[in-house]
Amino acid sequence: MEYTPPHTDSRHKQLDRALSRHQGRPEALIELLHTAQDVFGYLPRDVLAYIADALSLPRSRVFGVASFYPLFSLEKPRAHEMTICMGTACYVNGAAALLRTAHEECQCEENGTTDSLRLRSAHCLGACGRGPLLQVDHRTIVDARTEDVSNAIAELQDPEG
């Protein structure tokens, strides 16, 4: 399949700068995928093709790596993201109930999406002393309760109200 070569907008310039910093070395693949994801919010196919060509790597290999690591997203991001930590400490303090509430209120599964929201469960966010942990976009709520989940979802769905 043919891919549109990247435009010369500032976002691609950032990617190109990273490419030249790594001098096109194939071992920089994961670093470049991180850069691309920062810049574009996810990993579009034409960007993957561009990186593959720039590093002289087979496309299948680039896709294999990009799809292996959960932090890389091959889909366009939603406007909002809600993450519920399911680390052990959060789990024994009731994180499963938070996740259930989120499932019900978003009417979507774990790692699923609605029109405006992506719901994720994380394996551990490393703030175990105050679990359960709830992350809404870039805000973190410690000692979270199901009400926090409901309120956050209501807020995201109706930003005016």
Binding site: E31, R100, A122, H123, V142
Partner: protein, 562 residues
């Protein structure tokens, strides 16, 4: 940079510190930040401005102070007074009454003899939560990089390895392999090129020791790596940091840049013949990449899948070259050992497990947080003396160590000492240091199923026993959870556990059945109550008497007893 330069930087910085009238340290750990540390810092700064004393007061964000459960934490010097559960609204009183009038707020401060702190032995965490992690000068002012200076200037690589071996330091990632022995194998490797890799891909759920160390004292890790580089003859190091820890990535990147600027990393360190560079690599969310051969693949830009061992990375590692792979805490132990000597280190801990161990104490325990105790401390001391017992006066049920590779230890084994061998004997492992306390609100069947689901979703898929075995184990456990398992299912479960353990390619699969095996060993009646009587006493599992009812209920319902 010479040793004299280093001493001078330290002395200058200490002078500067002494010139302040008071110092306010705010815990900047991930947990305390989530609980509002940044806002609190702004409040203290503006109150100091209002009072006209801003230039006389040092306000600094530190790494983790440890007592996460009572955060946000704040410390005032002089006096070394710790305040807990701080809000921005507390700034005015603390500044006026404590800092200006010299009268600490008795009712808000943590008692000086608070056992959470007094029962610990900080070695690795000595300066954590006290120094500014973004200032290399602060680290140097507390003796930082002196061990590296001493090593490259006065000591031979052989001597350093001997010192590490004599100290008895063992891998703190959980395996417990003697660090000096590993370094020696790499040193003896004939290759020109060798590498030092710091495994900071902390993936165990319920563990945050590495995160705290990376965020709170990154130079201690770099110094340990540089000493390792000198000892084994490597010129390049990599820190592989978990991608979920953006602050740790930033702090470590910053530390590397600062160390390079001060010529503590780079060419001809301390005017010796030793050159060493460190690059940071960021993980991308795959738990299995914490397995050392998988981690090396990830640094090489590949799928983070493991290789069969042998060969071990110390023989065939990064790009096929001999490579030291050690955990964050292991490297953080190096400078103290070089500094104070093997004999001092041996004096801490037990005969076979020397030194201390850092634990992330969490779950249903009153005081959660980051602690460091000598090896050999009992689990009871950790949970009841340091941790203050069970939350809300509940009753202890089990403590989980070693994460998804470990096991749950019941009450009757609480007096075993925390060391590699004793924990293994109790059916768990030391692991990297996650310690989750559980009370009656946890169901051991549910916990076993939780860990198996974790392993299943983190399996890389390369070998069949782990890829498919964990799925089948999850399904069997789920049947027990729903009360629809047969005696035959239990037999199959036990058989499959042993098979997955014996035949999987890497540590993830080999250890995945551990939580189930240990739960079955210690809590078998609880399993039987589920599949024989359809009862979950903790009220967690959706137990039902028929398959159809179980299916309909899915994961809904808590504690429906039949």
């Amino acid at each position: 940079m010479t040793i004299e330069d280093l001493y001078q930087i330290g002395a200058l910085y200490r002078e500067q510190l002494a010139s302040f009238r008071a110092e306010i340290q705010i815990c900047g750990s991930g947990t305390c930040r989530s609980a509002g540390a940044a806002e609190i810092q702004r409040a203290f700064e503006s109150v100091c401005e209002e009072e006209g004393i801003r230039p006389e007061i040092r306000i600094v964000t530190t790494g983790c102070m440890g007592l996460c459960g009572q955060g946000p934490l704040l410390r005032v010097l002089p006096g070394d007074v710790t305040y807990t559960r701080i809000t921005a609204g507390d700034a005015e009183r603390i500044i006026r009454e404590h800092v200006i009038n010299g009268k600490p707020l008795k009712e808000r401060m943590l008692p000086e003899d608070y056992p959470f702190f007094t029962r610990q032995t900080p070695v690795v965490l000595e300066h954590m939560g006290r120094i500014d992690p973004e200032s290399i000068e602060d680290y140097i002012a507390h003796g930082g990089y002196e061990a590296l200076a001493k090593a490259v200037t006065y000591q031979s690589p052989e001597h350093i390895i001997l010192e590490i071996r004599n100290a008895g330091l063992r891998g703190r990632g959980g395996g417990g392999y003697p660090t000096g022995l590993k370094w020696d194998i790499v040193r003896r490797g004939t290759s020109q090129q060798k590498y030092v890799v710091c495994n900071a891909d902390e993936g165990d759920p319920g563990a945050f020791m590495d995160r705290a160390m990376l965020e709170g004292n990154p130079h201690a890790i770099l110094e340990g790596m540089a000493v390792a580089g000198y000892a084994v003859g490597a010129t390049q190091g990599f820190v592989y940091v978990r991608g979920e820890y953006p602050l740790a990535v930033d702090r470590m990147k910053r530390a590397i840049t600062e160390a390079e600027r001060k010529q503590l990393l780079g060419n001809r360190i301390f005017d010796s013949g030793f050159s060493f560079r460190v690059d940071l690599r960021m993980g991308a969310g795959a738990f299995v990449s914490g397995e050392e051969t998988a981690l090396l693949h990830s640094i090489e830009g590949k799928r983070g899948q493991p290789n069969p061992r042998p060969p071990y990375p110390s023989q065939v590692g990064l790009w096929g070259k001999p490579t030291v792979v050690n955990n964050v805490e292991t490297f953080a132990n190096v400078a103290p050992i070089i500094h104070r000597g093997a004999r001092w280190f041996q004096g801490i801990g037990t005969k076979r497990s020397t030194g201390t161990k850092v634990f992330a104490l969490a779950g249903r325990v009153r005081d959660t947080g980051l602690i460091e105790v000598p090896m050999g401390t009992t689990l009871r001391e950790v949970i009841f003396d340091i941790g203050g017992g069970i939350t809300d006066g509940g009753s202890f049920k089990a403590v989980q160590t070693g994460g998804p590779s470990g096991g749950c230890i019941p009450e009757k084994h609480l007096d075993i000492p925390v060391d590699y061998e004793s924990l293994a004997q109790a059916g768990s492992i030391m692991g990297s240091g996650g310690m989750i306390v559980m009370d009656d609100s946890s169901c051991m069947v549910d916990v076993a199923a939780y860990f198996m689901e974790f392993c299943q979703s983190e399996s890389c898929g390369k070998c069949i026993p782990c890829r498919v075995g964990t799925v089948q184990l999850s399904r069997l456990l789920d049947r027990i959870r729903r009360g629809v398992a047969s005696e035959q299912d239990i037999e199959t479960l036990e058989e499959l556990c042993v098979m997955v353990k014996d035949t999987s390619l890497c540590g993830l699969g080999q250890a995945a059945p551990n939580p189930v095996i240990s739960a079955l060993h210690f809590f078998r009646p609880e399993f039987e109550r589920h599949y024989r009587d359809h009862v979950c006493e903790a009220g967690v599992c959706p137990v039902h008497s028929t398959e159809a009812a179980g299916d309909a209920a899915g994961i809904e319902s808590g504690g429906a007893h039949v």
